[in-house]
């Protein structure tokens, strides 16, 4: 069976990217207004997240981290329930207990999100072991950052996945930043994908700001993992346009580098390509953007109307 994700067209991908952007801009605006807690946004990285998720099958499982909006929304998460979670409300996917940093949505296969950098890498092997031993079809897509690739558990995870032949698609979103530190300060070499070979794992790097390139690299990689049952490391080469966490004045960022990457904004590029090729008339593009913004307005209203959890929720869900 061909997974349904394989029939996605670029307009759908653009819409998803726009949704992610609008969602995060709403959070930024809300946090400036003091109505929404700050978060880690993925502005500038939408293609990397959306492109990979679009290449997954419905029964594949996702593990992600603190910078998860693109993964969640592309997977079909409801922006209202996500915003409710960010705002600590009862209708959030995690009942408001998580907040923005570790949102899991089990019903969508987004499992065990951890904000401990590297946490998802340590858990992914177990999830994949379950898939393999219980004979379930889905592979495991594990998203992590270039910073996480400095944690020792990255190495432990890849090594175990290789030795035990676990079906994991590792996706490193190399956004050049590790909180307030540039990748250049923390590692030699540019590419995390090069770190796969010593474990007997194949790796590749793709332009993470081109949603079609990401999608096709991810389709190939996921297909490889699926058919071989072995891990693969895909690096999406991208850039975190905003700060690490809202608010962040980005005073530490080189303006030239920043500008160069802004010029490669994944949403503008995809929109341009669609419009230029005639696949998306400008007025339809505008309508798309309007629709997405309306969805977010409604989502925000939903979240805002959701009550805070009752105080006795402080001690529920601790033990099974």
């Amino acid at each position: 069976m061909k997974p349904k994700s394989q029939i996605v067209d670029e307009t759908t991908l653009l819409e998803q990217m726009l949704l992610v952007r609008a969602y995060e801009e709403a959070i930024v605006a809300g946090s400036v207004a003091g109505k929404v807690p700050g978060t880690c946004t993925s502005v500038g990285q939408e293609a990397a997240g959306v492109g990979v998720v679009s290449a997954l099958a419905g029964d594949d499982l996702i593990l992600t981290n603190h910078r998860s909006a693109a993964h969640l929304l592309a997977r079909g998460a409801d922006p209202g329930r996500l915003l409710a979670e960010v705002m600590g409300r009862r209708d959030g996917y995690c009942k408001g207990k998580s907040g923005s940093l570790h949102i899991s949505v089990r019903e969508l296969g987004v499992m065990l999100t951890s904000t401990i950098v590297g946490g998802e890498l340590s858990l992914a092997t177990g999830v994949a072991l379950s898939q393999k031993m219980l004979g379930r079809p889905g592979i495991v897509a594990c998203f992590f950052g270039d910073g996480a690739a400095c944690e020792g558990v990255f190495h432990e995870s890849l090594n175990l996945a290789s030795v035990w032949q676990l079906p994991i698609l590792y996706i490193c979103e190399n956004n050049q930043w590790q909180a307030f530190v540039h990748r250049r300060e923390t590692m030699k070499g540019e590419h995390i994908s090069e770190r796969a070979a010593p474990y007997g794992i194949d790796g590749a790097t793709v332009d993470g700001n081109d949603v079609l390139a990401v999608r096709s690299a991810a389709l190939a990689a996921a297909e490889g993992v699926r058919s071989s049952g072995r891990p693969f490391l895909l690096e999406t080469w991208t850039y975190r346009s905003r700060g690490h966490f809202e608010p962040d004045d980005q005073a530490y960022v080189d303006p030239a580098e920043h500008a160069a990457w802004l010029a490669r904004d994944p949403i503008a590029r995809s929109r341009q390509r669609l419009v230029d090729s005639g696949r998306l008339p400008p007025e339809e593009a505008a309508a798309l953007e309007r629709r997405v913004r309306e969805r977010i307005v409604a989502a925000l209203a939903f979240a805002d109307a959701s009550p805070f959890p009752a105080l006795d929720e402080m001690t529920t869900d601790v033990y099974a």
Binding site: K95, K97, H102, R106, S122, G126, Y319
Partner: protein, 318 residues
Amino acid sequence: MPTLTPFEAIGAALAEEMRRDPTVLVFGEGVATKRHDLVDEFGPARVRNTPLAEGIIAGTAAGAAATGLRPVIDLLFAPFLCYAMDELVNSAGKLRFISGGQFAFPLVTLAMTGGGWGVGAQHNHNNEAWFVHSPGLKVLMPSSAADFKGLLKSAIRDDNPVLFFIDLALLHQPGEVPDGEHVVPLGKAKVLRPGSDVTLLSYGKTVHACLAAAEQLAAAGIVAEVIDLRSLKPLDEAAFLTSVHKTGRLLVVHEAARIAGVGAEIAAQVAERAFASLRAPIVRLGGPDAPAAASHPLEQAFAPDAAAIVAAARSLCR
């Protein structure tokens, strides 16, 4: 009743639970070498050696537990848990709550601890109190072969992450284990010897020192009640409160450092909830605030012995 060592009792519990439930599996550094009988019976997929990397062993267990398996992992010695704290505490212990109850983590972590092998402080460190202080985890530390088996079976069936500490000095001490299905519930202490004058509360190998002390105290006319805590979390509060209401005197004994150890929690609870019954100060006997030495006499002196317990109990009952 058959006689087994705790090592054998653990093996029996693993085998029985693996037979009962195909989702139970065990992995760790050398566990397939050490327990090759399990490999023979259940195959290499369910009994696995791992690379030497405690973090990923524990993380893998947590991820697997949340998605349908029931892993038992052997992390060898308690100080090695230091490499797995994120996975045990931040993941297995917290992600159920953080996710609003979307996941459960039925996983058991085995770790040896305590003196007896002369291998020094990086193998011998009773750190069980860390896990008692960490939310979402349960903590066991049995003192008899029967409880090793019965508690491990319960731990495997429990839907929460359980730290199962193995007092090294007991590992090869044979004891009777009831035939057939023998399951000991978590969170239940055991009164090993009833008494009226003083409560001796302990867990792990110092339970045996308490029993020996009680024997000597009896000769001196002091009737000590000896309670084996067994489960450090959940704590059987009713058991020790009931006992102190009766005896009015409490001595808590463990090998772990006294400072901020499990004994502190018990003393604090009793000082709050059985205050009116107390007839004497609450005394804790525990290890010093020091790493454990390899040198045999120093290692042995680390844990309170029967003589120290007798002396402390006598002075309480004076």
